[in-house]
């Protein structure tokens, strides 16, 4: 069961719009084994979707190659398509179509008989809680219902490899939790290999076993969320003082210590990034007390993937999107 699902080497995509060339993806190497659950994380415009579009045969790479589910994306696009499932950013079902009809058409597109398609549609309608809405026009469904129908469409032919492009964008927290549950179940029950893009840190953190961080079209980190955090970010201790002057002096004092590798100082607040924050904090408080720099409030936070991204790129993932050129958000046909 240890076959390679995705083997991409030096995948590159350039877009030329109005004489300006945007290097959306700059030489990505990626291997995904069967059974993995991988999140591709990055700000808007980082090249996540473009990468996914190349792997799903929606876009031809400018250079580089990839084998997806055992077929070449350039020379055997139809074989790739018949072996993968895809849930795009948009609504998969036609606005004027009924869910059940769309599921049956989808099954037919993959070579199932009408009977097979009907039975499979029935299964998915039941398991994705769509019984009440499967015979309504897709345009009348709520966002969460549409998304579940999209996933059902992606699973009609029971693909061994499923791609999801920003699956939870636009969903409320409850629907997002519901979606995560369905994705986890797919993984545990059917051993489906899953690759999804996201710009939500918590989503990558909670759902994926492996996070591939993309920025400016290249992979800048690739590991489990735990190891990424251990390697690229520490605990965050935030100390608040009553007076800005105290904060400034405390900052100078703390920076002299070996353990506090990174720190920032802003107004009455000092933020330190350290290893083993909860063990270190009491000692720090005692020292500052002795130096007559009383701390008014203290907060210790475990690292997030945002800290990882910040330390890797110098930008917060939340702000990174704004600095990206809009042209990299390419609209496919």
């Amino acid at each position: 069961m240890n076959e390679t699902m995705i083997h991409a080497s030096a995948l590159t995509k350039h877009f030329t719009t109005r004489k300006r060339t945007v290097e959306a993806v700059r030489g990505i190497d990626l291997n995904v084994e069967a059974g993995e659950m991988v999140a591709i994380l990055g700000p808007n415009g980082a090249g996540k979707s473009t990468t996914l579009r190349m792997l799903t045969t929606l876009l031809l790479p400018t250079s580089g190659t990839a084998q997806v589910a055992g077929a070449d994306i350039r020379t055997q696009p139809r074989q790739v398509r018949s072996r993968i499932g895809y849930v795009g950013q948009g609504t998969g079902s036609g606005y004027n179509q009924r869910g059940r009809d769309e599921l049956i058409s989808q099954g037919r597109a993959y070579g199932m008989s009408t009977d097979q398609a009907r039975r499979r549609a029935e299964e998915l309608i039941a398991s994705l809680d769509l019984s009440n809405v499967a015979d309504r026009r897709s345009s009348s469904l709520s966002g969460g219902q549409k998304r579940r129908l999209d996933i059902a469409l992606g699973l009609m032919h029971t693909p061994p490899l499923l791609f999801l492009d920003e699956p939870s964008t636009g969903l409320d927290p409850q629907n997002r939790a519901n979606l995560h549950e369905h994705i986890r179940e797919l993984r545990s029950r059917h051993d489906t290999t899953i690759v999804f893009t996201t710009h939500y840190l918590d989503e990558a953190d909670q759902l994926a076993e492996r996070v591939v961080v993309i920025d400016h079209g290249t992979i800048i980190a690739d590991d489990t969320p735990e190891r990424l955090k251990a390697e690229y970010a520490g605990d965050r201790i935030t100390l608040t003082f009553d007076r800005a002057d105290d904060a400034k002096r405390a900052f100078g004092h703390l920076m002299a210590r070996a353990e506090s590798a990174r720190g920032t100082h802003d107004g009455v607040r000092v933020v330190l990034e350290v290893d083993g924050g909860s063990r270190l904090a009491p000692a720090l408080l005692r020292e500052l007390e002795e130096a007559d720099l009383p701390v008014a409030a203290v907060e210790i936070a475990r690292p997030t993937l945002d800290d990882v991204f910040l330390n890797l790129t110098g930008r917060s993932l939340r702000d990174a999107a704004a600095s990206e050129p809009a042209a990299t958000q390419e609209v496919p046909a």
Binding site: L58, L59, R81, N96
Partner: protein, 252 residues
């Protein structure tokens, strides 16, 4: 457990998918009929009796049938436009359906609403004295069906080129529609017009289809008129499908 698909099964899959909403919601067919029926009710009575030597209705109704077919098929790309914008087209592009079948299946579906519309127009005009020649009318339907496939495919190609630019799709559609209708002599005969207008009319493929429909619905067996109409329809279909397939293959 699955059977390999072929271009034919793919085309059938797309055809059936496109047809379902029409069958589920037959009223959508009536919708594009509103304008032609308005012309029939409010324009036909203004026409002088004895146009081109026939009774007004016998002359006007076949043209209105072509017009309703043109209105429906030229705007059919709007569905694809929505599907491109909302995401379902992308989902189908990632399925193993052949690109050619995505166009051919859609274009073939145009025949169904066109035939349904014709039946409605006939049902609305026969009580007022329109008398179609039965065998001729069947021939007329055949020509119109073939023509619709071509126009439908062109409309889908226009949608693929327009992508998210709705204004482009509707702009081109509206710009082309009325000149085609007027130059084909659907509203008024072009025979009495100035020379330049008659020349433009001869360059309009729709003119030949309209002339053939008038002959056939009236049971006038003018072989050359019918042959030109059939040729125009076939050329439109072949050209439309070719443009459609090339555009679909190139669209991503």
């Amino acid at each position: 457990m699955t059977i390999p698909t072929t271009p034919l099964t793919d085309t059938i899959t797309v055809f059936v998918r496109e047809l379902r909403p029409v069958l589920r919601d037959p009223f959508t067919v009536v919708f594009s009929l509103v304008q032609p029926l308005v012309f029939l009710a409010l324009f036909a009575p203004l026409l002088p009796e004895g146009l081109s030597g026939e009774s007004t209705l016998q002359w006007f109704v076949p043209g209105i049938i072509v017009m309703s077919c043109l209105f429906a098929t030229m705007s059919t790309g709007a569905n694809l436009l929505f599907e491109i914008q909302l995401g379902s087209h992308e989902r189908m592009l990632v399925s193993p359906l052949r690109r050619s079948s995505l166009i051919v299946g859609r274009a073939l579906k145009e025949i169904v609403p066109v035939l349904a519309q014709t039946v409605i127009i006939l049902a609305a005009t026969i009580p007022f004295g329109f008398r179609p020649h039965v065998v001729g009318a069947l021939g007329g339907l055949l020509i119109i069906s073939v023509f619709s496939v071509g126009v439908g495919a062109l409309s889908y190609a226009l949608a693929l080129v327009s992508k998210d630019r709705h204004w482009l799709f509707w702009g081109v559609q509206q710009t082309v529609l009325f000149p085609l209708v007027l130059l084909a002599g659907i509203m008024l005969p072009v025979e009495g017009g100035p020379g330049w207008l008659r020349t433009m009319s001869l360059l309009n493929p729709l003119t030949y289809v309209v002339n053939a429909e008038r002959a056939l619905f009236n049971g006038v067996w003018d072989t050359s008129v019918v042959a030109w109409g059939a040729l125009s329809a076939v050329v439109t279909a072949v050209l439309g499908l070719w443009v459609g397939i090339v555009t679909m293959r190139r669209a991503h």
